[in-house]
Protein backbone atom coordinates (compact mmCIF):
# COMPACT_ATOMS: atom_id res chain seq x y z
CA UNK A 1 0.00 0.00 0.00
CA UNK A 2 1.40 3.39 -0.91
CA UNK A 3 2.05 5.93 1.84
CA UNK A 4 0.42 8.83 0.05
CA UNK A 5 -1.90 8.72 -2.90
CA UNK A 6 -3.17 11.98 -4.45
CA UNK A 7 -5.59 11.97 -7.40
CA UNK A 8 -6.50 15.29 -9.00
CA UNK A 9 -6.06 17.18 -5.73
CA UNK A 10 -6.77 20.90 -5.87
CA UNK A 11 -6.96 23.62 -3.26
CA UNK A 12 -8.51 27.04 -3.58
CA UNK A 13 -8.21 29.64 -0.81
CA UNK A 14 -11.07 32.09 -0.78
CA UNK A 15 -10.26 35.44 0.69
CA UNK A 16 -11.70 38.92 0.75
CA UNK A 17 -9.56 39.99 -2.19
CA UNK A 18 -10.54 37.01 -4.34
CA UNK A 19 -9.78 33.33 -4.75
CA UNK A 20 -6.26 31.96 -4.82
CA UNK A 21 -5.76 28.66 -6.60
CA UNK A 22 -2.93 27.22 -4.55
CA UNK A 23 -2.97 23.73 -6.05
CA UNK A 24 -4.54 22.21 -9.14
CA UNK A 25 -4.72 18.66 -10.45
CA UNK A 26 -2.01 17.15 -8.27
CA UNK A 27 -1.40 13.46 -8.98
CA UNK A 28 1.25 11.98 -6.75
CA UNK A 29 2.02 8.59 -5.29
CA UNK A 30 4.58 8.13 -2.57
CA UNK A 31 5.45 4.50 -1.97
CA UNK A 32 6.00 3.15 1.54
CA UNK A 33 9.58 3.83 2.57
CA UNK A 34 10.18 6.19 -0.36
CA UNK A 35 11.90 9.57 0.06
CA UNK A 36 10.29 12.26 -2.10
CA UNK A 37 11.42 15.88 -2.21
CA UNK A 38 9.09 18.74 -3.22
CA UNK A 39 10.80 21.72 -4.79
CA UNK A 40 9.52 24.83 -6.48
CA UNK A 41 9.47 28.59 -6.30
CA UNK A 42 7.95 30.39 -3.36
CA UNK A 43 4.19 30.29 -3.31
CA UNK A 44 3.83 27.27 -5.60
CA UNK A 45 1.90 25.35 -2.98
CA UNK A 46 4.47 22.99 -1.46
CA UNK A 47 3.47 23.75 2.10
CA UNK A 48 -0.17 23.60 1.12
CA UNK A 49 0.23 20.12 -0.29
CA UNK A 50 2.01 18.97 2.85
CA UNK A 51 -0.74 20.45 5.02
CA UNK A 52 -3.38 18.66 3.00
CA UNK A 53 -1.61 15.34 3.55
CA UNK A 54 -1.37 16.12 7.27
CA UNK A 55 -5.09 17.00 7.40
CA UNK A 56 -4.26 20.50 8.62
CA UNK A 57 -6.33 21.73 5.69
CA UNK A 58 -8.84 20.00 3.46
CA UNK A 59 -8.51 19.77 -0.36
CA UNK A 60 -11.15 21.54 -2.42
CA UNK A 61 -11.18 18.89 -5.12
CA UNK A 62 -9.71 15.47 -5.78
CA UNK A 63 -8.96 12.54 -3.58
CA UNK A 64 -6.20 12.03 -1.08
CA UNK A 65 -5.43 8.93 0.93
CA UNK A 66 -2.70 8.19 3.46
CA UNK A 67 -1.97 4.50 3.89
CA UNK A 68 -5.35 3.85 2.30
CA UNK A 69 -7.24 5.92 4.90
CA UNK A 70 -8.55 9.46 4.70
CA UNK A 71 -6.06 12.05 5.94
CA UNK A 72 -8.21 12.63 8.99
CA UNK A 73 -8.21 8.96 9.94
CA UNK A 74 -4.48 8.87 9.38
CA UNK A 75 -4.01 11.91 11.60
CA UNK A 76 -6.11 10.49 14.36
CA UNK A 77 -4.29 7.18 14.08
CA UNK A 78 -1.01 9.10 14.32
CA UNK A 79 0.37 7.54 11.19
CA UNK A 80 2.66 10.42 10.44
CA UNK A 81 5.18 12.64 12.16
CA UNK A 82 5.57 16.24 11.10
CA UNK A 83 8.27 18.93 11.27
CA UNK A 84 7.60 22.50 10.22
CA UNK A 85 9.90 25.15 8.83
CA UNK A 86 9.93 26.84 12.23
CA UNK A 87 10.93 24.44 14.97
CA UNK A 88 7.74 25.32 16.85
CA UNK A 89 9.04 24.17 20.22
CA UNK A 90 7.08 25.13 23.32
CA UNK A 91 9.37 27.65 25.01
CA UNK A 92 8.23 26.74 28.50
CA UNK A 93 9.19 23.09 28.16
CA UNK A 94 12.65 21.61 28.38
CA UNK A 95 14.15 19.90 25.38
CA UNK A 96 13.19 16.51 26.80
CA UNK A 97 9.64 17.61 27.59
CA UNK A 98 9.29 18.95 24.07
CA UNK A 99 10.35 15.67 22.56
CA UNK A 100 8.04 13.82 24.91
CA UNK A 101 5.04 16.01 24.01
CA UNK A 102 3.42 13.73 21.41
CA UNK A 103 3.92 10.68 23.63
CA UNK A 104 2.44 12.54 26.60
CA UNK A 105 -0.57 13.60 24.56
CA UNK A 106 -1.22 10.00 23.65
CA UNK A 107 -0.93 8.65 27.13
CA UNK A 108 2.44 6.91 26.95
CA UNK A 109 3.79 6.16 30.43
CA UNK A 110 6.41 8.27 32.11
CA UNK A 111 9.28 5.81 32.12
CA UNK A 112 8.75 4.82 28.50
CA UNK A 113 8.59 8.48 27.49
CA UNK A 114 11.84 9.28 29.20
CA UNK A 115 13.58 6.32 27.61
CA UNK A 116 12.38 7.20 24.13
CA UNK A 117 13.33 10.87 24.56
CA UNK A 118 16.86 9.90 25.62
CA UNK A 119 17.18 7.67 22.59
CA UNK A 120 15.96 10.36 20.19
CA UNK A 121 18.13 13.10 21.65
CA UNK A 122 21.22 11.00 21.28
CA UNK A 123 20.13 10.31 17.69
CA UNK A 124 20.16 14.04 16.92
CA UNK A 125 23.28 14.60 19.02
CA UNK A 126 21.72 16.62 21.81
CA UNK A 127 22.19 14.28 24.78
CA UNK A 128 23.89 17.07 26.71
CA UNK A 129 21.02 19.48 26.28
CA UNK A 130 18.16 17.36 27.62
CA UNK A 131 17.40 19.76 30.48
CA UNK A 132 17.86 23.00 28.53
CA UNK A 133 15.08 25.27 27.42
CA UNK A 134 14.62 26.09 23.73
CA UNK A 135 15.84 29.68 24.04
CA UNK A 136 19.18 28.37 25.24
CA UNK A 137 19.68 26.54 21.94
CA UNK A 138 20.82 27.81 18.57
CA UNK A 139 18.36 27.76 15.69
CA UNK A 140 19.92 24.61 14.30
CA UNK A 141 19.75 22.78 17.60
CA UNK A 142 16.09 23.75 17.98
CA UNK A 143 15.39 22.34 14.56
CA UNK A 144 17.04 19.10 15.56
CA UNK A 145 14.79 18.89 18.62
CA UNK A 146 11.79 19.35 16.36
CA UNK A 147 13.04 16.54 14.14
CA UNK A 148 13.51 14.29 17.16
CA UNK A 149 9.96 15.15 18.20
CA UNK A 150 8.60 14.25 14.78
CA UNK A 151 10.24 10.84 15.09
CA UNK A 152 8.99 10.19 18.62
CA UNK A 153 6.17 7.87 17.67
CA UNK A 154 8.09 5.95 15.02
CA UNK A 155 5.74 7.14 12.27
CA UNK A 156 5.71 5.29 8.98
CA UNK A 157 5.35 8.64 7.18
CA UNK A 158 7.39 11.75 7.84
CA UNK A 159 6.24 15.15 6.60
CA UNK A 160 8.96 17.79 6.65
CA UNK A 161 8.56 21.40 5.53
CA UNK A 162 11.96 22.97 4.94
CA UNK A 163 13.23 21.70 8.27
CA UNK A 164 16.81 22.75 7.51
CA UNK A 165 16.03 26.23 6.28
CA UNK A 166 17.46 27.86 9.39
CA UNK A 167 20.72 25.96 9.46
CA UNK A 168 24.11 27.02 8.20
CA UNK A 169 25.57 25.10 5.30
CA UNK A 170 27.80 22.84 7.37
CA UNK A 171 25.23 21.85 9.96
CA UNK A 172 22.74 21.45 7.19
CA UNK A 173 24.91 18.97 5.36
CA UNK A 174 25.50 17.04 8.56
CA UNK A 175 21.77 16.90 9.31
CA UNK A 176 21.04 15.74 5.78
CA UNK A 177 23.42 12.82 6.19
CA UNK A 178 21.78 11.99 9.51
CA UNK A 179 18.30 12.12 8.05
CA UNK A 180 19.20 9.76 5.25
CA UNK A 181 20.52 7.31 7.85
CA UNK A 182 17.49 7.60 10.12
CA UNK A 183 15.06 7.05 7.28
CA UNK A 184 16.98 4.11 5.97
CA UNK A 185 16.95 2.56 9.44
CA UNK A 186 13.30 3.21 10.22
CA UNK A 187 11.98 2.51 6.74
CA UNK A 188 9.69 5.54 6.94
CA UNK A 189 8.36 7.22 3.84
CA UNK A 190 9.25 10.93 3.68
CA UNK A 191 7.73 13.92 1.92
CA UNK A 192 10.35 16.63 2.19
CA UNK A 193 9.82 20.25 1.13
CA UNK A 194 12.92 22.28 0.31
CA UNK A 195 14.18 25.28 -1.63
CA UNK A 196 17.63 23.86 -2.12
CA UNK A 197 18.33 21.81 -5.23
CA UNK A 198 21.47 20.10 -3.84
CA UNK A 199 19.53 19.19 -0.71
CA UNK A 200 16.65 17.70 -2.70
CA UNK A 201 19.04 15.72 -4.84
CA UNK A 202 21.16 14.51 -1.96
CA UNK A 203 18.23 13.27 0.09
CA UNK A 204 15.58 11.88 -2.18
CA UNK A 205 14.78 9.09 -4.55
CA UNK A 206 12.51 11.35 -6.56
CA UNK A 207 12.42 15.15 -6.82
CA UNK A 208 8.95 16.51 -7.54
CA UNK A 209 9.27 19.90 -9.21
CA UNK A 210 6.32 22.27 -8.91
CA UNK A 211 5.36 25.42 -10.77
CA UNK A 212 3.26 28.23 -9.38
CA UNK A 213 -0.08 29.88 -10.03
CA UNK A 214 -1.79 27.51 -10.05
CA UNK A 215 0.46 25.08 -8.20
CA UNK A 216 1.04 22.04 -10.42
CA UNK A 217 3.59 19.32 -10.68
CA UNK A 218 5.70 20.32 -13.65
CA UNK A 219 8.24 17.49 -13.58
CA UNK A 220 9.38 14.50 -11.58
CA UNK A 221 13.12 13.88 -11.66
CA UNK A 222 14.21 10.43 -10.50
CA UNK A 223 17.54 10.45 -8.69
CA UNK A 224 19.50 7.22 -8.58
CA UNK A 225 22.55 7.83 -6.52
CA UNK A 226 22.46 4.47 -4.73
CA UNK A 227 21.54 3.66 -1.20
CA UNK A 228 24.69 4.65 0.64
CA UNK A 229 25.02 8.42 0.51
CA UNK A 230 28.15 9.69 2.12
CA UNK A 231 29.83 13.07 2.13
CA UNK A 232 31.85 12.15 -0.92
CA UNK A 233 28.71 12.00 -2.99
CA UNK A 234 28.38 15.78 -2.88
CA UNK A 235 31.49 16.12 -4.99
CA UNK A 236 30.59 13.38 -7.37
CA UNK A 237 29.86 14.14 -11.01
CA UNK A 238 26.62 12.16 -10.88
CA UNK A 239 25.47 14.46 -8.09
CA UNK A 240 26.20 17.58 -10.14
CA UNK A 241 24.43 16.01 -13.09
CA UNK A 242 21.29 15.44 -11.05
CA UNK A 243 21.49 18.98 -9.70
CA UNK A 244 21.66 20.28 -13.24
CA UNK A 245 18.69 18.17 -14.28
CA UNK A 246 16.56 19.51 -11.43
CA UNK A 247 17.66 23.07 -12.16
CA UNK A 248 16.60 22.72 -15.73
CA UNK A 249 13.27 21.24 -14.76
CA UNK A 250 12.78 24.12 -12.36
CA UNK A 251 13.68 26.85 -14.84
CA UNK A 252 11.57 25.20 -17.47
CA UNK A 253 14.22 25.67 -20.21
CA UNK A 254 17.05 23.20 -20.70
CA UNK A 255 20.43 24.89 -20.30
CA UNK A 256 23.27 23.41 -22.29
CA UNK A 257 25.26 21.32 -19.93
CA UNK A 258 28.98 21.90 -20.14
CA UNK A 259 31.46 19.29 -19.02
CA UNK A 260 29.14 17.05 -17.01
CA UNK A 261 26.87 14.26 -17.96
CA UNK A 262 23.97 12.60 -16.32
CA UNK A 263 25.16 9.20 -15.37
Amino acid sequence: MSAVEARGVGKVFSSRSGDVVALEGIDLTVAAGEFVALIGPSGCGKSTLLRLIADLDAPTTGELTVFGKTPQQAREAQDYGIAFQQAGLLPWRTVTANVELPLELHGVGKAERAGRARELLSLVGLDDFAGHFPHQLSGGMQQRVAIARSLAERPSLLLMDEPFGALDEMTRERMQTELVRICAESGAAVVFVTHSIPEAVFLSQRVVVMSPRPGRISAVVPVNLGDVRGEGLREDASFFAAVTAVREALHGTPVTARGVDLR
Binding site: R51, L56, R75, Q78, F84, L90, P91, L101, L105, F133
Partner: protein, 253 residues
Protein backbone atom coordinates in the same frame (compact mmCIF):
# COMPACT_ATOMS: atom_id res chain seq x y z
CA UNK B 1 27.48 42.40 40.44
CA UNK B 2 27.91 43.50 36.88
CA UNK B 3 28.15 47.10 35.82
CA UNK B 4 24.57 47.19 34.61
CA UNK B 5 23.25 45.75 37.86
CA UNK B 6 25.20 48.35 39.78
CA UNK B 7 23.74 51.05 37.63
CA UNK B 8 20.26 49.66 37.99
CA UNK B 9 20.36 49.81 41.76
CA UNK B 10 22.82 52.56 42.53
CA UNK B 11 21.66 55.21 40.09
CA UNK B 12 18.12 55.53 41.42
CA UNK B 13 19.33 55.47 45.01
CA UNK B 14 21.88 58.19 44.31
CA UNK B 15 19.24 60.27 42.58
CA UNK B 16 16.83 59.74 45.46
CA UNK B 17 19.39 60.74 48.06
CA UNK B 18 20.34 63.77 46.00
CA UNK B 19 16.73 64.87 45.75
CA UNK B 20 16.25 64.42 49.49
CA UNK B 21 19.34 66.48 50.23
CA UNK B 22 18.14 69.24 47.92
CA UNK B 23 14.74 69.16 49.54
CA UNK B 24 16.25 69.36 53.01
CA UNK B 25 18.60 72.15 51.99
CA UNK B 26 15.75 74.07 50.40
CA UNK B 27 13.48 73.77 53.43
CA UNK B 28 16.20 74.67 55.89
CA UNK B 29 18.02 77.19 53.70
CA UNK B 30 14.95 79.13 52.62
CA UNK B 31 13.35 78.82 56.03
CA UNK B 32 10.23 77.16 54.67
CA UNK B 33 7.60 76.75 57.38
CA UNK B 34 6.42 73.19 58.04
CA UNK B 35 2.84 73.98 57.06
CA UNK B 36 4.10 74.76 53.57
CA UNK B 37 6.52 71.88 53.12
CA UNK B 38 7.94 69.66 55.84
CA UNK B 39 11.60 68.69 55.67
CA UNK B 40 12.65 65.07 55.09
CA UNK B 41 14.15 64.89 58.56
CA UNK B 42 10.91 66.09 60.11
CA UNK B 43 9.05 63.43 58.15
CA UNK B 44 11.40 60.71 59.32
CA UNK B 45 11.09 62.01 62.88
CA UNK B 46 7.32 61.71 62.63
CA UNK B 47 7.61 58.33 60.96
CA UNK B 48 9.52 57.02 63.95
CA UNK B 49 6.86 58.43 66.26
CA UNK B 50 3.88 56.97 64.46
CA UNK B 51 5.54 53.83 63.14
CA UNK B 52 3.11 51.41 64.82
CA UNK B 53 0.22 53.38 63.36
CA UNK B 54 1.77 53.45 59.90
CA UNK B 55 2.24 49.72 60.18
CA UNK B 56 -1.34 48.96 61.21
CA UNK B 57 -2.73 51.38 58.64
CA UNK B 58 -0.55 49.87 55.91
CA UNK B 59 -1.76 46.45 56.99
CA UNK B 60 -5.41 47.48 56.71
CA UNK B 61 -4.93 49.14 53.33
CA UNK B 62 -2.67 46.32 52.19
CA UNK B 63 -5.37 43.79 52.98
CA UNK B 64 -7.83 45.73 50.84
CA UNK B 65 -5.31 45.82 48.02
CA UNK B 66 -4.60 42.13 48.30
CA UNK B 67 -8.22 40.99 48.34
CA UNK B 68 -9.18 43.41 45.58
CA UNK B 69 -6.20 42.39 43.49
CA UNK B 70 -6.93 38.70 43.83
CA UNK B 71 -10.67 39.00 43.22
CA UNK B 72 -10.24 41.42 40.31
CA UNK B 73 -7.54 39.29 38.70
CA UNK B 74 -9.45 36.04 39.05
CA UNK B 75 -12.57 37.58 37.54
CA UNK B 76 -10.51 39.18 34.76
CA UNK B 77 -8.72 35.94 33.91
CA UNK B 78 -12.02 34.08 33.84
CA UNK B 79 -13.55 36.74 31.62
CA UNK B 80 -10.54 36.62 29.31
CA UNK B 81 -10.82 32.85 28.95
CA UNK B 82 -14.48 33.22 28.08
CA UNK B 83 -13.78 36.08 25.67
CA UNK B 84 -11.04 34.08 23.96
CA UNK B 85 -13.50 31.23 23.41
CA UNK B 86 -16.52 33.16 22.22
CA UNK B 87 -16.72 36.12 19.86
CA UNK B 88 -20.04 37.08 21.36
CA UNK B 89 -18.59 37.38 24.86
CA UNK B 90 -15.62 39.27 23.45
CA UNK B 91 -17.77 41.95 21.80
CA UNK B 92 -19.45 42.55 25.15
CA UNK B 93 -16.49 42.20 27.50
CA UNK B 94 -13.85 44.17 25.62
CA UNK B 95 -15.77 47.46 25.58
CA UNK B 96 -16.70 46.86 29.22
CA UNK B 97 -13.02 46.58 30.07
CA UNK B 98 -12.32 49.75 28.10
CA UNK B 99 -15.04 51.59 29.99
CA UNK B 100 -13.82 50.32 33.34
CA UNK B 101 -10.28 51.44 32.56
CA UNK B 102 -11.41 55.05 32.21
CA UNK B 103 -13.86 54.94 35.14
CA UNK B 104 -13.08 57.71 37.63
CA UNK B 105 -13.00 55.69 40.83
CA UNK B 106 -13.46 58.78 42.95
CA UNK B 107 -16.98 58.98 41.63
CA UNK B 108 -17.61 55.32 42.19
CA UNK B 109 -16.38 55.04 45.75
CA UNK B 110 -19.14 56.99 47.53
CA UNK B 111 -21.84 55.14 45.62
CA UNK B 112 -20.35 51.79 46.48
CA UNK B 113 -20.14 52.86 50.10
CA UNK B 114 -23.85 53.47 50.12
CA UNK B 115 -24.56 50.21 48.34
CA UNK B 116 -22.40 47.94 50.44
CA UNK B 117 -22.23 49.79 53.72
CA UNK B 118 -19.71 52.29 54.97
CA UNK B 119 -18.52 50.04 57.77
CA UNK B 120 -17.78 47.25 55.35
CA UNK B 121 -14.44 46.85 53.59
CA UNK B 122 -16.27 45.54 50.54
CA UNK B 123 -16.62 48.89 48.72
CA UNK B 124 -12.90 49.58 48.88
CA UNK B 125 -11.99 46.12 47.77
CA UNK B 126 -14.50 46.42 44.98
CA UNK B 127 -12.91 49.67 43.83
CA UNK B 128 -9.55 47.92 43.72
CA UNK B 129 -11.07 45.03 41.78
CA UNK B 130 -12.57 47.40 39.25
CA UNK B 131 -9.24 49.09 38.72
CA UNK B 132 -7.44 45.77 38.43
CA UNK B 133 -9.88 44.22 36.00
CA UNK B 134 -9.01 46.10 32.81
CA UNK B 135 -5.24 45.64 32.65
CA UNK B 136 -5.40 41.99 33.64
CA UNK B 137 -8.25 41.23 31.25
CA UNK B 138 -6.67 42.98 28.28
CA UNK B 139 -3.26 41.43 28.75
CA UNK B 140 -4.55 37.95 29.49
CA UNK B 141 -6.77 38.04 26.43
CA UNK B 142 -3.86 39.13 24.30
CA UNK B 143 -1.83 36.27 25.74
CA UNK B 144 -4.53 33.74 25.02
CA UNK B 145 -4.78 34.99 21.46
CA UNK B 146 -1.05 34.81 21.08
CA UNK B 147 -1.00 31.07 20.36
CA UNK B 148 1.38 30.69 17.45
CA UNK B 149 -0.10 29.11 14.33
CA UNK B 150 2.73 26.60 14.29
CA UNK B 151 1.80 25.43 17.78
CA UNK B 152 -1.83 25.17 16.84
CA UNK B 153 -0.96 23.10 13.77
CA UNK B 154 1.36 20.94 15.82
CA UNK B 155 -1.28 20.08 18.38
CA UNK B 156 -3.80 19.43 15.64
CA UNK B 157 -1.36 17.12 13.94
CA UNK B 158 -1.13 15.23 17.23
CA UNK B 159 -4.94 15.01 17.37
CA UNK B 160 -4.87 16.68 20.80
CA UNK B 161 -8.17 17.34 22.58
CA UNK B 162 -9.26 20.96 23.32
CA UNK B 163 -8.46 20.43 26.98
CA UNK B 164 -4.99 19.21 26.16
CA UNK B 165 -4.46 22.23 23.93
CA UNK B 166 -5.52 24.61 26.69
CA UNK B 167 -3.30 22.91 29.24
CA UNK B 168 -0.16 22.43 27.18
CA UNK B 169 -0.17 25.48 24.93
CA UNK B 170 -2.70 28.21 25.62
CA UNK B 171 -2.30 28.74 29.35
CA UNK B 172 1.50 28.48 29.56
CA UNK B 173 1.81 30.79 26.56
CA UNK B 174 -0.46 33.39 28.14
CA UNK B 175 1.31 33.49 31.51
CA UNK B 176 3.91 36.15 30.63
CA UNK B 177 1.14 38.41 29.39
CA UNK B 178 -0.85 37.79 32.55
CA UNK B 179 2.11 38.96 34.58
CA UNK B 180 2.49 42.10 32.53
CA UNK B 181 -1.11 42.86 33.41
CA UNK B 182 -0.57 42.04 37.06
CA UNK B 183 2.41 44.34 37.31
CA UNK B 184 0.40 47.29 36.02
CA UNK B 185 -2.50 46.27 38.23
CA UNK B 186 -0.47 45.93 41.41
CA UNK B 187 0.80 49.49 41.51
CA UNK B 188 -2.49 51.07 40.47
CA UNK B 189 -4.32 48.90 43.00
CA UNK B 190 -2.51 50.61 45.85
CA UNK B 191 -3.45 54.09 44.68
CA UNK B 192 -7.02 52.95 44.15
CA UNK B 193 -7.27 51.52 47.66
CA UNK B 194 -6.01 54.78 49.13
CA UNK B 195 -8.26 57.00 47.04
CA UNK B 196 -11.19 54.76 47.96
CA UNK B 197 -10.67 55.76 51.59
CA UNK B 198 -10.99 59.38 50.62
CA UNK B 199 -14.71 59.77 51.03
CA UNK B 200 -15.38 57.75 54.09
CA UNK B 201 -15.57 54.36 55.68
CA UNK B 202 -13.49 52.69 58.35
CA UNK B 203 -10.73 54.98 59.53
CA UNK B 204 -8.07 52.33 59.71
CA UNK B 205 -6.17 52.80 56.45
CA UNK B 206 -3.41 54.99 55.08
CA UNK B 207 -5.75 57.21 53.06
CA UNK B 208 -7.83 58.43 55.96
CA UNK B 209 -4.71 58.92 58.09
CA UNK B 210 -3.17 61.11 55.43
CA UNK B 211 -6.24 63.31 55.08
CA UNK B 212 -6.76 63.54 58.79
CA UNK B 213 -3.16 64.49 59.46
CA UNK B 214 -3.08 66.96 56.59
CA UNK B 215 -6.25 68.71 57.68
CA UNK B 216 -4.70 69.18 61.10
CA UNK B 217 -1.78 70.87 59.38
CA UNK B 218 0.42 68.01 60.59
CA UNK B 219 2.08 67.73 57.22
CA UNK B 220 5.14 65.89 58.44
CA UNK B 221 2.87 63.23 59.89
CA UNK B 222 0.84 63.15 56.67
CA UNK B 223 4.00 62.58 54.69
CA UNK B 224 5.07 59.85 57.07
CA UNK B 225 1.89 58.03 56.06
CA UNK B 226 2.53 58.89 52.42
CA UNK B 227 5.89 57.21 52.83
CA UNK B 228 4.01 54.19 54.12
CA UNK B 229 1.86 54.28 50.99
CA UNK B 230 4.91 54.42 48.75
CA UNK B 231 6.47 51.48 50.54
CA UNK B 232 3.23 49.52 50.28
CA UNK B 233 3.20 50.17 46.53
CA UNK B 234 6.78 49.00 46.33
CA UNK B 235 5.99 45.83 48.26
CA UNK B 236 3.17 44.87 45.94
CA UNK B 237 5.20 45.74 42.90
CA UNK B 238 8.16 43.67 44.00
CA UNK B 239 5.90 40.82 45.09
CA UNK B 240 4.35 40.50 41.63
CA UNK B 241 7.80 40.81 40.12
CA UNK B 242 9.08 38.00 42.35
CA UNK B 243 6.10 35.80 41.53
CA UNK B 244 6.71 36.40 37.86
CA UNK B 245 10.38 35.55 38.16
CA UNK B 246 9.57 32.34 39.99
CA UNK B 247 7.11 31.21 37.37
CA UNK B 248 9.44 32.32 34.57
CA UNK B 249 12.30 30.37 36.08
CA UNK B 250 10.19 27.25 36.24
CA UNK B 251 9.37 27.79 32.61
CA UNK B 252 12.99 28.36 31.73
CA UNK B 253 12.59 32.09 31.16
Amino acid sequence: MTASAVRRWVAPVVLGVLALLLWQAFVVGAGIKPYLLPSPTAIVEQLVLVLPLVWSAALATGMNVLVGLVVGSVVAVGAAVVAARSRMADTLLSPTAAALSVMPIVALAPALNTMFGTTSTTPRRLVVSVVVFAPVFVNMLRGLRQVQPVHRDLLKAYAATPRQITRTVTIPGALPYLFTGLRIASSTAVIAAIVAEYFGGLQNGLGSRITSAASNSAYARAWAFVLGAILLGLVFYLATLALERTVARRQGG
